[in-house]
Symmetry: C2
Subunit: 176 residues, 2 copies
């Protein structure tokens, strides 16, 4: 496990594992956590049952948690990218969100935000999922606030505004 001939040294992407995560993300966007069956999920990922249990001993729930974390990482990375490159962060932000909305309408409004659905579906018992979501939303909001601050908005205002932007965005998805 330590050395690795054909791949990057420390992390092995394991395509099958990634396919499972991708399938779960798609499922969360379209139907929600309870809406998809394992068989459908595995069919979409072209994977047999054993492989899910192998990569995610915690089963469906663990896959969902990992998927949530993956999404959050990608989202915050996208925001960081805006921070570094754009000369006009606000405009870049608008473009970014516009792109997100376009991908939504391109799917015929089938695919929304995968976080929103599972957030509403989850109960207080689903502690692992709830924790992942809570941490995720905090990360997204704070990263967004950083972007706003870089655009010259005062710190306190930035956090408020970031929360509002995320809220309005998720809310719009609900109604679409």
């Amino acid at each position: 496990m330590s050395t690795n001939s054909t791949n990057t040294p420390t992390a092995d992407p394991t395509p099958t594992r990634d396919r499972l995560i991708a399938a779960m993300r798609d499922a969360l966007q379209r139907k929600g956590f309870h809406g998809v069956g394992l068989s459908e999920l595995l069919a979409n990922a072209n994977a047999p049952k054993g492989v899910l249990y192998h990569h995610f001993p915690g089963g469906k729930t663990e896959l969902a948690v990992v998927t949530i974390n993956t999404i959050v990482v990608q989202l915050t990375a996208g925001l960081q990218h805006i921070n570094k490159k754009a000369t006009n962060p606000l405009q870049a932000l608008a473009v970014w969100m516009g792109a997100a909305q376009k991908s939504l309408s391109d799917s015929g409004y089938e695919k929304g935000c995968p976080l929103a659905t599972i957030a509403l579906e989850s109960t207080p018992d689903d502690t692992a999922i709830r924790e992942a979501l809570a941490a995720g939303f905090v990360a997204i909001r704070s990263q967004l606030a950083v972007t706003l601050e870089q655009a010259g908005i005062e710190a306190g205002k930035s956090r408020q505004l970031a929360a509002l932007i995320v809220s309005a965005y998720e809310g719009a998805l609900v109604q679409a």
Copy 2:
């Protein structure tokens, strides 16, 4: 059926039917449509299986549609009430939304908006549910716009603002 000795003339409330609707609303708020089983639903409503099928031949889905419509009617009625009575519509609106948020936090953030969850869960195949939801959101937004107009806001602005308010509200629920 035409005459009716003990109840109001035209409509019979049929308590059992109402209990089913109430149970479905609660279920939608807490877990979403796919998250609840019929057995759990019926247990909460203290009703056997046959009675669900009797009142709602379309089964779980029809119950959900009727529940959605019921919620929308109650919501718009609440807004109309504000319209007629309040001297300051905007302030009354704020109070009203504050009350909604309080009931949310009182439930330990278990219960959100029942419309939001099922909206995100539903797929394009669930035509009945989608139609009910679409009509419902339109009704809520337009009723809210009327209230805003009465508060002196120009018509076009009112509709935009109404959409934003609803969006922000739903979005906040997602994150709570």
